[in-house]
Symmetry: C2
Subunit: 352 residues, 2 copies
């Protein structure tokens, strides 16, 4: 499982894809990444579980972070990788071993960049947040994540996607009173009552605010509904689970306040909240990056680990060669040309 | 566990209550009932699993059936029985060992009634229909259930409750299209769509038709709702289970047609239907019975085994000493005075 960092980006991506690494099983790929980085004289390499960190120590005024996750969603009959014309197919090609290949090649080649660089390769991004390797690293070794700016190599088709939206889940509960359905007028049907909750959801109009120059698009959805006691009982409870995706001009507290304001007629219980992150592309290293990479930055609508950097006070963007729209599908692929393009733009920014 | 049929109705009820007989465990009580009936020279006794049948063979022009179930819902700390003033407390006092006591006393005493009588004591009424002892008997020995009229000794507080409402369950399904909730406008939310189904239920106005002189009261209720794929996915399906309780002027086919007519915008799948039964109190043995027993007959709103007699072409009513409103509760009791009253009225009808 030796990785040859002299391979071009597409071939190195294929080599990474052919080391299966479903979340929780990143041992072999982390070993291979570590083994490939250890011989490089210009980076200090450390290993933390299945997470690998490599840092240059050039004493530059600015330090940036390139971060990518090593894990993939479950394999769906799409291994080993295969090339079809301009595309490389296989599990993780887009999300995000093509991004990891770019990181590895830059780590090998940039012996004396204009900025110090911290390369982070982490595990368990595709599963429950508490297992996330980047979160673990930020708690156990925050000093390794110190920096002025971070680029998360998530699939964005080679376009900058700035910030990310936050996400809140809450349960909204309609109450009733049990009765036998043969005498249903003795009770009050909680499921019927929940129609009011669903009407609020149907009537919701999404905000599309501009934040730091990027247009976000919110969403409010029922993601679950449950109710019912037995086939002959008028139910006394119906619980609707809603998911609010909010633009980064709102924080978690404002998001909760908004959800509560919509459902004043029912008890609302917040289940979890993950803050979003402002894109912050207008200033500092982020602005330099945006100028160097070019294109028209878009807002990131999904929640990604850029929000973790935001909580560390580090501006971050998503930027990688993969295609976000086919990530997590059996037909996942990456346009090989974009891998090299992405690498070239990052190199020119880091060396300028 | 000998049962003394010379005991008065209240004492015999207590003796029956003190033989626990939760559904599926009716062996000991069926043994006791069989042993008490076998010595009677004027009835032919047969045993079928935990069901016992005793028939007179007087060659009368008319044969009536008195049927009662031996099983109870699970004991709720309410055994053994205890007397408090005019009430006998305990599991099964109302539903329906007081009715069984009346049956047993009549079986012992009426050696030469004006009508032939078939006494049926059956198992598993309180559980899934396919285990019901009366259903089993009707399939395996329909000749034992031949008759002109049946009285089911279910708790009715000593008032005739005629016929029963039918019950139909159906699933009404709202469809949508999956999407990530971060880009929810790419999908269509099936739970939101289900608001329309719930609005139909909220707008439903119950029919209260008069059938054979009795006023019924229908009901249409959601008894279950389910939907949801994951906390970050716009769901593509939401299923509402509805229960329609219909008056016996409608049969199952008409009930299905009605439900489908309400939900034309969504697929409707009928899960199960149990036909109701018309009270039929205006003619024949039923009319004689109503006249002899007196009081103002009421409509039976719940579904009971009278519907099984209806499918055999035998008019049937519910009539027993128990209180229907406290059946299945830990505080279940029976007014002991009503046991004797009920027995006296049945005796005067059967001997007239």
């Amino acid at each position: 499982m030796d990785l040859d960092l002299e391979l071009d980006g597409a071939a190195l991506t294929a080599a990474l894809v052919d080391i299966p690494s479903v979340s929780g099983e990143e041992g072999p790929i982390a070993d291979a990444v570590e083994a490939a980085l250890r011989p490089l004289p210009h980076v200090a390499v450390s290993r933390h579980g299945h997470t690998v960190v490599a840092r240059t120590g050039l004493g530059r005024a600015e330090r940036v972070i390139l971060a990518g996750h090593l894990d993939t969603v479950p394999v769906a009959g799409n291994l080993p990788s295969r090339v079809e014309g301009p595309r490389l197919f296989g599990c993780g090609t887009s999300d995000m071993k093509s991004g990891v290949a770019v990181q590895l090649r830059l780590a090998a080649q940039l012996t004396a960049a204009a900025r110090d660089v911290t390369y982070v390769f982490y595990d368990c991004e595709e599963v429950a947040a508490e297992r996330n390797g980047l979160l673990r690293l930020s708690r156990e070794h925050p000093e390794l994540l110190a920096g002025d700016f971070a680029v998360l190599m998530e699939p964005t088709s080679g376009q900058i996607e700035g910030g990310c939206q936050g996400t809140l889940r809450a349960e909204v509960t309609a109450a009733g009173q049990r009765a036998h359905t043969a005498r249903s007028w003795m009770g009050r049907n909680a499921i019927h009552e929940a129609a009011g909750i669903l009407e609020v959801l149907r009537g919701y109009v999404a905000r599309e605010p501009e934040v730091d120059g990027l247009r976000y698009h919110e969403g409010l959805n029922a993601v679950g509904i449950r109710g019912g006691v037995a086939g002959n009982v008028v139910p006394d409870e119906c619980v609707v689970t809603v998911n609010y995706r909010f633009a980064p001009d709102r924080d978690g507290a404002a998001a909760e306040e908004f959800v509560r304001s919509l459902f004043t007629a029912w008890p609302v219980k917040v289940i979890d909240v993950a803050e979003g992150a402002r894109p912050g592309l207008g200033q500092g290293a982020a602005a330099t990056f945006a100028a160097a990479v070019g294109g028209t930055p878009r807002a990131k609508l999904g929640w990604t680990d850029v929000a973790r950097f935001a909580t560390l006070g580090i501006p971050a963007v998503n930027y990688g060669p993969g295609r976000p729209d086919i990530a997590h599908t059996a037909g996942e692929y990456v346009e090989t040309a974009i891998i090299g393009e992405c690498e070239a733009r990052l190199r020119s920014w880091l060396t300028a």
